[in-house]
Symmetry: C2
Subunit: 282 residues, 2 copies
């Protein structure tokens, strides 16, 4: 059985002649005759009486009608689902770093939920390197990360490059007692460590936190310093000063598996987030 045969069967029934059905279907009479005959052979029945003026459906043809219609409409639903409403449903799993999250996610998420209410959106925040692993392991559809070592499985699209600044109360910036950072793999931890190295403070104590609030709370309390995008520090009211561009610049990229075509829902979210990101970090 073949969808095409059923389509032809229905069109012949609708028009009442093989010729006009062939024309409607952009093919030739002989082909319609052959497809019809094939269907009749498959089902082992006669579907139409061949009369001198067109054809007339038989009792067996009538039996087939509802089934054929059902199948064709189900097939049309697939096209509707995937071609005409590609964004309406699905599940999207996006990864972010805590800093990206703080900067631009909430507004993007609100806009996305409003536009595509049927998409199940899952957001995970983690360090850049962990996000890369999640992409490779198919646990995320895409992620915004700092620069990642080249991996042949991963496609990386540059989003923006913003400088990190050194945040901390005045006393700490002048004489830092500790670096308060995310776990290994966070791009801003890297910057902070590079800053410490370049300014001869490599033996400074390290305090690790797993949340942005935790880090900034401690920094505000004068327990240490941290490198962050200026925007984040401003939002939390943490004093800061600029640091050398040599190592302060942090890339933000959108990454995804090269061998997996992103779902339309994922593409839509990623581009929306990227737009938000660029707007807010201008």
């Amino acid at each position: 059985m073949d969808l095409n045969e059923l389509k032809i069967f229905l069109e012949v029934y609708r028009t009442g002649t093989i010729s006009s059905a062939a024309e409607k279907l952009n093919t030739v009479q002989s082909n319609v005759t052959a497809r019809l005959k094939k269907l009749e052979d498959e089902l082992n029945v006669c579907l139409f009486y061949r009369k001198s003026r067109g054809v007339e459906i038989t009792s067996d043809g009538k039996r087939l009608l509802p089934f054929a219609k059902k199948i064709m409409s189900a097939a049309a639903e697939i096209n509707a689902e995937f071609k005409f409403k590609p964004l309406c449903k699905g599940e999207v799993r996006i990864g972010l770093t805590d800093t990206t999250f703080a900067e631009c996610l909430p507004s993007a998420m609100a806009a996305y939920k409003k536009k595509y209410p049927e998409v199940e959106l899952t957001i995970k925040t983690d360090a850049s390197s962990a996000l890369v692993e999640d992409i490779i392991g198919y646990r995320l559809d895409g992620a915004f990360t700092g620069s990642v070592g080249g991996n042949e499985n991963i496609e990386s699209v540059h989003v923006c490059r913003v400088p990190a600044v050194l945040g901390g109360v005045k006393k700490e910036i002048e004489s830092p007692s500790a670096m308060i950072v995310f776990k290994k793999g966070c791009s801003y931890r890297d910057v902070t460590e590079k800053w410490a190295l370049s300014s001869g403070k490599q033996n400074i104590k390290i305090i690790e936190f797993s949340t942005l609030d935790g880090i900034l709370g401690c920094v505000s309390a004068g327990l240490g310093v941290t490198c962050m995008p200026e925007k984040v520090l401003r939002k939390y009211g943490v004093p800061f000063e600029e640091i050398e561009e040599d190592f302060s610049l942090v890339e933000t990229n959108y990454i995804y598996r090269r061998d997996v075509k992103p779902s339309a829902a994922a593409d839509a979210f990623a581009s929306l987030l990227r737009k938000n990101f660029l707007t807010e970090t201008d």
Copy 2:
């Protein structure tokens, strides 16, 4: 889109690997890979993550699942309808002569209705020649008639050959006053006319009736004679005597259009009727 692609998609989902799906479907890996890729290209999505150990369905694949299942089950319903339950439904239009009707139809119809309750059975009684026209014009699926002139569109199957006898009250048989018969085209009218001719009574009056009851009623009332199968006259209690075999033998054939495959329901009814006919006319 193609039913085969959807079947492959579902089997890959069910088994979790392309290899085992190929084995289940009696084909090879490379073919499953290709069909899957074709489906993905058509829908413009990625349906499975290719992992080192089999594949895993994606969010878009999950979207496709219910549609694919729906279509495949609808296709299976067609097979069920036409292959496994070929006799359950439909419409059957059978033609009979009045004499055939009287002889064997009632019991056959009862048996058929019991066996195939969902078939819409339409019975038409008319003269043999009229039934032939109905077959040619697609208004009947099949008919039991007397012998008909060869028509290349009509397939004719011999059922039986029984002699007609001359029915009438004693006085009428000895000296018939009229032939009481069906309209032109009835095989038994033909026999009656041949009898009249051979016995030198060609100028006898003709009374036409359109029902068997009418004919036999008049014959019983002594208004004339008629030629009928012995069995019919017995049933109605009409006296009779045998006539010459030269013209008394009446064929009964089952006829149908050669270019139309009979529906299973029609075949079933015809064979049942034929069996009844043979049994009752032994």
